[in-house]
Subunit: 223 residues, 2 copies
């Protein structure tokens, strides 16, 4: 058996995620006439020499006006599941878009993650994997900050974490941990709208942290 390349068809399929009225939402595009499903993930083939994340940026910026600032691969798939363009192999990429991002073009729409329309089987798999990856990485990567505007309140931030983790967090503990991490700094702005005490806006500004070398955790296994 000698290794050899083979020609295959490849697609980059993008799962744009954004908090949308207290739910995590996915951006879908209307399928062309004749397709089996009415909606699909944004996708395309990478151009020659184009990086996969670059392709994802190109695909999504056409839909949102600006490209999301954060991408993460969720894995390549080459099983038999059907792809809308019948690509042999798909590379799934999760893209994070802040709340209140530009409203999509006419052909695209946000759907709550929990209430998606029918999708091609491979797209369904990619969405599920994207959600799983994002939830799993949320406390190893500052990914939650990319789901918020440049300045945000601590309650906003806690809300994003609760959305991703799917459970309630305790306010005091959350703030204490955040404080200890030197990840955010306060701004001069305060939230005006709404009732209740105004909240201070913060911005993501990670300071260098001294090595937090903790012991081994065996209780975080996900499989």
């Amino acid at each position: 058996m000698k290794p050899a390349v083979r020609r295959t068809t490849l697609a980059v399929d993008v799962v744009v995620l954004s908090p949308r009225s207290d739910v995590l939402a996915v951006l879908l595009i209307r399928s062309p006439a004749g397709a089996r499903e009415r909606w699909s993930l944004p996708w395309d083939a990478p151009q020659t020499g184009e990086g996969l994340e670059d392709a994802a940026a190109r695909i999504t910026s056409a839909l949102l006006g600006a490209a999301p600032a954060f991408f993460e691969q969720v894995g390549a798939l080459s099983d038999g599941r059907r792809h809308p363009g019948d690509a042999d192999v798909s590379v799934g990429i999760a893209a994070l878009s802040p709340t209140g991002a530009v409203s999509p073009t006419e052909d695209a729409e946000w759907f709550p993650l929990a209430a998606l329309p029918a999708l091609a089987p491979r797209h369904r798999t990619i969405v599920d994997r994207a959600a799983a990856v994002v939830r799993q990485r949320v406390d190893q990567s500052p990914l939650a900050f990319h789901l918020l505007p440049p300045t945000f309140t601590l309650s906003d931030l806690q809300g994003v974490y609760e959305l991703l983790l799917g459970r309630h967090l305790h306010k005091a503990s959350f703030r204490r941990a955040l404080q200890a991490s030197y990840l955010v700094e306060p701004t001069d702005e305060w939230r005006s709208e709404g009732r209740g005490r105004p909240a201070q806006f913060f911005r993501y500004a990670p300071k260098k942290r001294r090595g937090a070398r903790r012991g081994v955790r065996f209780d975080l296994f996900t499989e």
Copy 2:
């Protein structure tokens, strides 16, 4: 802009990792005559309809006699870096092989991760990413157990963690955390060889664990 598939060349490149005399080692194969580098990662194109992990299993089982039991994608690359077979796109896959696994065939050899020979630039990137992924996932996935034989001593297990994390762990703390996790169970066997008190063999036997829902950690960010 209409999405459309394109024909590209695709390779699956496998990074087989195994602890080898107290260092993490990578399995490389001798390049065919005329190649720019003398060694390369095992690789091949996936067959039609073959899953990517299945391809990785096929590629490695030819070299090791048996296929490793654990695979994990480390990402797809489509940058301009050179691949030995000039594939447009590579899918990197990390495979874990237990200590003392079958010695490789004549064309393959183990190299310490810290002292690899020259590799094609893309292979170099894939190795680095595989090492990073494995080190990062070690306490979210029982991956360390796949680097050991079915039964092992607790010192063996701690050694693997120290290898992956690159730092010394405290024996008592390590064992207490392991105890609390219900991941291993003792066997009847005891290690006979060597001097010092004999050690009991354990096997990986994860029990159902009640939800270990901990708070958010901001101090684990890796970027």
